[in-house]
Subunit: 331 residues, 2 copies
């Protein structure tokens, strides 16, 4: 039995988190001998739960839990009591795959085999829980326009927090110049109808909120494997229907509120309400398409979250707003 | 040994996720007998890893892993080889506590005991992984202004998606009326300096982005137990310093860009830059205080995320913007 993996493990891969001394036993050994062997060599790591049956070259043949070993009749050979290996990992796999596979296989320990089928390690549940927690944190950080950091907040230096945050803030600030340019272009229209300005923040915030709802839903779905690239049409069709429903509700409430409570001019209220419908729909579609596209080109979908979508949705909704206003208010 | 828990389990509690038939053994039993007993009764559940030593009333005395049992000398009594129970859960505990405790204790299975110290179940790693994944998803949904749902996206009906999303959209849209009112109040100032309008989206987006960076960081820190209520001063002091650094950087870049590239009037560019510094600082402070306050009054901090903070930060930054403009531009 060979177990000489000396490759340096790449951070973020299965190789970096796996336990490197799985319990390996030969197929012709009997249950009683296996237990005796275990008592002799000891357990390499407390969390390890499975024994692995390997051939003389170290190739994985089967798996049996310690429970199964204890329960087996003394003289039964391991090859008679072991189960087929089921899903296996490779040392180069993304560590997220370990979590997804463990979830899918409803298992708490997975063997890791190299290209030749040789057992080189095992990923246990405590490792997988750490990965799952870190990945969720990283996704949240990316969604909120930060560069991911693994350090706990209170231990992170101010300078490192600054660096992880300022990059996206700068990028998004500069790209918001587009929105400014759009407003400048319609400056004369705004000067004629200053009342229109008052609704800009509400329209932009609503677009931003709709965009984050969709993008966060899709990003999380992609990361849990509930949504795949091939589902893009089903996702889009769902978002369109939800968007129409949300848009119409917001438009109706806004129209009633503006006309009845704020005594806004009816035509201005109508412009605002129509813009709301378009903004909600556009934001929801951007929110679902950008993360799916990102996953297609192997970018992290979480980067396509709310802040980026807000910036694009802002520009689109402003153009729509001014176009509708120009058409209906003759300005 | 009694094991007659028949309480209905409250969803979201440890009682709802625990396995109800832990392996229970008496303290005076010898290792050899224990193994024989195991082979006789079988293992109730594949993922279970520990054996629990209990007294005649079912009270938990100690824990030993199956590994430890296998390794123990045949005639050793269980009370001699067991370890102290370590951290235990109660059936009424929030299921998040199981994950936090498992992480803190570096363990993959935790005993659950009732008020009388009697063992009533055990939470295993596969249960904890499910909880951890669901809780992260719920936090993300709340952060993105949605009511949490446990259903996978593609299986969720359009109507349910609509309901989970429209509530917060309506609330936030109506509260954005404040921002509109502020703009209306400064309408004459805006009419005198229409150029100011062009920067409103950029200022608002930057405030929103800064707010989500801080709030998501703090919400995640609270949920992982890295930040507690008592840390509010350390968090605020850190956010102030990061906020000043980010604000100054953004202000400097914005000033240079506006004066050199867009040939904006210097005084207008100065108003924008000064507002940026205040907006960034205020958003970062809101972003850290609101979630900490929410956790103090036992609300879910995730509800205090970006959308709500954006709405408040918008209003604050607009007032600051118009005040500074009024002072520096004499409008």
């Amino acid at each position: 039995m060979k177990n000489t993996l000396s490759l340096p493990a790449v951070p973020g891969t299965v190789g970096a988190i796996m336990s490197r001394q799985p319990l390996m036993l030969p197929p012709l050994m009997r249950a009683r001998e296996a237990l005796a062997r275990l008592r002799q060599v000891g357990v390499p790591r407390d969390f390890m739960r499975n024994c692995y049956v390997v051939d003389e070259d170290g190739r994985l043949l089967g798996v049996l839990t310690l429970h199964e070993l204890v329960m087996a009749p003394d003289h039964r050979r391991l090859e008679q009591i072991m189960s087929a290996p089921g899903p296996v990992l490779a040392p180069g796999d993304d560590q997220e795959r370990a979590v997804a596979l463990m979830d899918g296989a409803d298992s708490v320990e997975l063997p890791v085999v190299d290209g030749g089928g040789r057992l080189v390690g095992a990923v246990t549940a405590d490792d997988a829980m750490d990965v799952q927690r870190e990945e969720a944190t990283e996704d949240m950080q990316r969604m909120a326009a930060m560069l991911p950091s693994e350090q706990p907040y209170l231990q992170t230096r101010v300078w490192d927090l600054y660096k992880s945050r300022v990059v996206w803030l700068l990028l998004l600030m500069v790209s918001a110049a587009f929105t400014g340019a759009i407003i400048t272009r319609y400056e004369s229209a705004l000067a004629a109808q200053v009342a229109l300005t008052a609704f800009i923040p509400m329209l932009m915030d609503t677009g931003g909120n709709c965009g984050s709802q969709s993008s966060v839903t899709v990003i999380r779905g992609l990361s849990l494997g509930e949504i795949r690239y091939g589902d893009w049409f089903r996702v889009a069709w769902k978002e369109i229907r939800v968007g129409v429903l949300c848009g119409l509700t917001l438009a109706a409430v806004s129209l009633l509120r503006l006309v009845l409570l704020s005594r806004t001019e009816f035509m201005v209220a109508l412009v605002v309400s129509l813009t709301l419908v378009v903004t909600v729909l556009v934001s929801k579609l951007l929110g679902c398409f950008l993360p799916i596209l990102a996953s297609r080109v192997r970018l992290d979908p979480a980067v396509m979250a709310s802040p980026l979508i807000t910036t694009i949705a802002d520009a689109v909704s402003l153009v729509v707003y001014f176009r509708i206003a120009a058409a209906l208010l003759q300005i």
